[in-house]
């Protein structure tokens, strides 16, 4: 699924990474536990999370995660946005809850593994 489609399905706001909206992601993962994300996530994944700190970007970087969706309208700090820009990671923000956002992507055909 294209990141652009994820943005549309979640009525999400683009925060960073406009140039990469046409990149494809193969899987999705919804979690606030970066420990779990580090243990299970594959590359070309979109990460949905309610966590909003620099370690989310670090975690995404190590795993080659292509895009991060912050749920419940959370907006990352300029420092976090800068980190994402330097790492070519797309940042999106949606007003949906983690559960609803995951449900919408699942309905759209995206799977976890």
């Amino acid at each position: 699924m294209k990141i652009r489609t994820i943005k549309e399905l979640l009525d999400a706001r683009l925060i960073a990474g406009e140039d990469f909206l046409d990149n494809e992601v193969l899987y999705a993962c919804g979690s606030d536990l970066m420990s779990d994300v580090l243990a299970f996530v594959k590359e070309q994944t979109v990460l949905l999370t309610g966590l909003n700190n620099p370690q989310v970007i670090r975690t995404a970087e190590m795993l080659d995660v292509s895009a991060i969706v912050f749920v419940r309208g959370k907006t990352p700090s300029p420092e976090i946005i800068q980190m994402a820009l330097e790492r070519d990671i797309v940042l999106l923000s949606t007003d949906h809850t983690l559960f609803e956002a995951c449900g919408k992507l699942y309905e759209g055909g995206l799977r976890g593994r």
Binding site: S35, L51, P54, Q55, R58, T59, M62, L63, D64
Partner: protein, 147 residues
């Protein structure tokens, strides 16, 4: 202490100082390791595995230790990640290797870590893991990734 890469085979060595309790910097060493391995043209799957292990090891040192040194050794045959800290050491290594067992602080948990997945994940990512620790002295971790 343990088998070390033959000096003649060493292509590159990098060391990184890890500061205890500094969650803002946590991940900087792993990030640099990832960039370096990419520049060297190492296979992307291996880069990913080394990066994840390095990040977990770095986080462990930031969360649990009094600080330490992470060292990356690259030879034509393997990548070796060595993490040595100044304590306080692991009381029960077998327990620490169990998924879900953690002694992490509340702050680490708030940041999304401390779920007891770190060491098991390093083991999963590496081809060979050696861990030794002595209470009051420190911990030495050595993870090898075959090329």
């Amino acid at each position: 202490m343990t088998e070390s890469a033959n000096n003649e085979d060493l292509v590159m060595v990098q060391t990184y100082e890890i500061e205890a309790g500094n969650f803002t910097l946590a991940g900087e060493a792993a990030s640099n390791i990832k960039k370096l391995l990419r520049q060297l043209g190492i296979d992307a799957k291996i880069v990913r595995k080394v990066s994840i292990a390095a990040y977990e090891a770095e986080l462990n040192m930031v969360i649990h230790s009094l600080g330490g040194i992470m060292r990356l050794e690259i030879t034509p045959k393997e990548i070796v990640l060595k993490a040595r800290d100044d304590g306080p050491g692991i009381e029960d290594i077998e327990l620490a290797m169990q998924e879900g067992y953690s002694t992490a602080t509340e702050l680490a948990r708030e940041l999304g870590f401390g779920a007891g997945m770190g060491l098991p994940n390093i083991k999963r990512c590496s081809d060979k893991l050696h861990l030794q620790s002595k209470l009051g002295q420190g911990t030495y971790l050595e993870a090898r990734f075959f090329l």
